[in-house]
């Protein structure tokens, strides 16, 4: 039960991000979660959006380099210690987290987190067996 993540190449120069966000705005795509890291010359922007296919298409039209990958979205209770529990579970079961970031979206009950791991199926099964609530594509559309 993975969710779609966009990875976008961002050149380290004025206007690169504006172009990407405006393209998404014109395509009427909402951003749910976001992470960006950079080196000296370029960055990779990772996004979870309301409609990944539509966003990827619009970005490609605008000559962006985009890839769509599967990641795992987890909904945890918005209280101290919840995230630690999930990460402990993954660690104890040798699931290596390549990177992770949090959703921008706020809900009363839950906080949402994105995990990128090597084996999505194994991690999904593990989390489900242990009663961790996963985020689906539908959830993201309706957030």
């Amino acid at each position: 039960m993975a969710i779609k993540q966009l990875s976008i190449f961002v050149e380290n120069k004025k206007g690169s991000l504006v172009e990407i966000y405006e393209t998404l705005s014109h395509a009427q795509v909402d951003i749910r979660a976001m992470s960006i890291a950079d080196t000296q010359d370029f960055g990779i922007l990772r996004l979870i959006v309301s409609d990944a296919e539509k966003a990827a298409e619009a970005l490609k039209q605008a000559h962006c380099i985009v890839s769509v990958t599967d990641v795992i979205g987890v909904a945890i209770n918005d209280q101290a210690g919840s995230l630690a529990k999930v990460v402990r579970l993954l660690t104890d079961n040798d699931v290596n987290i390549e990177y992770m970031y949090a959703f921008i979206t706020v809900s009363k009950q839950y906080a949402y987190v994105v995990f990128r791991v090597a084996d999505n199926d194994a991690a999904t099964a593990l989390l489900e067996t242990n009663g961790v609530k996963l985020v689906t594509e539908d959830d993201i559309r309706n957030l």
Partner: protein, 435 residues
Amino acid sequence: MFFQKDIETLPRKKIEEIQLERLKYIVDYCIKNVPFYAKRLGEAGVTAEKIKSLSDIQYIPYTNKSDIRDNYPYGLFAQPLKNIVRIHASSGTTGKPTVVGYTKNDINNWSDCVARLCMAVGVTDEDVAQISFGYGLFTGALGLHYGLEKIGCSVIPISSGNTEKQAMILKDFGASVLVSTPSYAMYMSEVAHEMGITNDELNLRIGLFGSEGCTNELRDKIEKGFGLFSTDNYGMSELMGPGVSGECQYRCGLHFAEDHFLPEIIDSTTGERKGEGEFGELVITTLTKEGIPMLRYRTKDITKLTYDACKCGRTHARMDKVSGRSDDMLKIRGVNVFPSQIESVMANIEGISPHYELVLTRKNYTDYLEVRIELTDAELLVDYGKLDALRQLAVNKLKTVLGISAKVVLVAPKSIKRYEGKAKRIVDLRNQSEN
């Protein structure tokens, strides 16, 4: 296929006989008709009678581009304008343009030379040829135009620019031959594919590329992208235009039209003549040109010659694809670098587009080379490691080939400028004041 088989397959000895006869003729013609040559050759003590063998050409002084410019515009013409039917000029990137004139015979010989190289790759009167060189003072477009017409092709003189329309016409008119610079062909295929035109919908089979250097690696990429087979041809307005030499279907060197042009190779620094197979600057003497004959014209292009007959049956001398102009050579931290070396490295790396840009800067009296390449493979975005590995691969390959370190910068697709004519891939900022 041949356009003038008898001439193109003459025995070596016969070619040299014709060349010697014509060399004597052209020396005499120059002395009689061009005051500049009369003075130069007089000072050097050269007359037609003193030329007993082809090697006696070494006594004739070289002619340089500056000589044409110094006699701007018509000073080197050997015929009154009454007999000149066409005037071309080369782009005056450094000062005034160099002006050249053609008589009716010149135009006729020129189109013969072009027809030869077109038929050598298999162009026939059935072909529809789209000429996407810019028409105008530049010799490329009209040169190919007349040659292709002479063969009997249906010529589309679309000129360069308006690339979407180019792609549309390529498809709708069923063009089978494309004439353009390699850079423009590359750009055009990109645009055509973006418009949803597939190679299957095109009738393209032959590319006649020229007017700028292109490595084999880049050529292969263009051919794959556009689904065609291409040959390189060579020439310059000072000598005539395209048609001085051109590849046949075997692409093992460019065949000269040796009945019209006498090639030599020299050391560009010392001016000494070099032998067969040795690299050096190409020097050409025009043997039949009436409008503006050239005696030992220094082309600044670096190549080597071979006189062996080709598999295709042609016997005229062949030159290597031009590996670089002596003018284009960059000196970076004291090392000689030809942009073509960088191009062949980049064309062999997966995941990037064939477009690139070189930026040269100088800091604290040290030169820095930056190579900008466009990322095209989205799969590499999975993690930084992959992008960094791509960059490191480019850095290592450049270091191996050039012997100097370069910085490699990944940029977004389509962010490097596309060209409708000759590409300008080098930005040299070294002579700007340091801040």
